[in-house]
């Protein structure tokens, strides 16, 4: 009996209690003053996992916005478009996302969740053109659901064709 109690005691001790959690609270001093900690995640892949970058430009539904250090906390729905990530050292990476959400949390933490994101170089202009033609055809004929789906695809493809050469 006492052995059982000893076992449960040790298990309980390893679980975080309220008191020990207070000591583990993440402080805002973790991120360097002039950077944002970016996490760009897809359901199947993590592109950036808490990486410190200088600036991120996002295509939000309400407009384009650039996120720098100490940005106001916000939640933005993203439209299909290009994300520019200016990394430490000046290199800029561009990813085309199909849509998702970006959350800026206090302390310069930015997390972007998207369903699909690929570097802009991975898209083929030929495939975009054929898709565009088909979507334009479908957007004016067919059932209502088909038309709406074609309109969604048009939105994505028009944003893509502006970027992929």
């Amino acid at each position: 009996m006492s052995a059982l109690r000893l076992a449960t005691r040790s298990v309980l001790r390893s679980k975080p209690t309220a008191a020990s959690l207070r000591g583990c609270v993440r402080t805002y001093a973790d991120v360097p003053a002039d950077k944002i900690r970016l996490s760009l995640t897809l359901p199947h892949q993590t592109i950036y996992n808490s990486a410190d970058v200088v600036q991120v430009n996002l295509p939000a539904v309400t407009g384009d916005l650039g996120v720098l250090a100490s940005h106001v906390p916000t939640i933005e729905q993203l439209r299909p478009g290009v994300i520019d990530i200016v990394e430490d050292g000046g290199a800029t990476k561009q990813f085309f996302i199909s849509g998702g959400f970006a959350t800026v949390q206090p302390g310069s933490l930015l997390s972007i969740n998207a369903i699909e994101a690929y570097p802009v170089e991975d898209f083929s202009a030929e495939a975009i053109r054929t898709q565009l033609a088909e979507a334009q055809k479908n957007s004016t004929s067919g059932s209502e659901i088909d038309q709406v789906e074609a309109k969604i695809e048009l939105e994505v493809l028009e944003a893509l064709s502006a970027v992929a050469k």
């Binding site: 199909s98 849509g99 969740n113 369903i115 991975d122 495939a127 659901i145 994505v156």
Partner: protein
Amino acid sequence: MNFYPAKVVVPSLPSLFFVSNLHPISLCPYIAITMSFWKDAGLTYNRYAAIAARATRRALKDSQRIQAEKREIVEIRAAKWVDGKQGEFKDTTKRE
């Protein structure tokens, strides 16, 4: 004496992003952006996001596209059970 650890409630990500049936126009009276033409037609955000993802996958170069298209394959067979008996399998990939 058992001391139970304090409950830590972590809000799930979907609950932070889900806007339910609030039409964006009602939230921003000064911005007349109809971003929800799909919402007006009855599509859910999940469906919209899936269609947008599908369009981006199809626009990839061949080297990437084959691997990406594998993500679109959904195989679910569903059957309704009534009174302990399995009903017919329904095709869940079809739109309702």
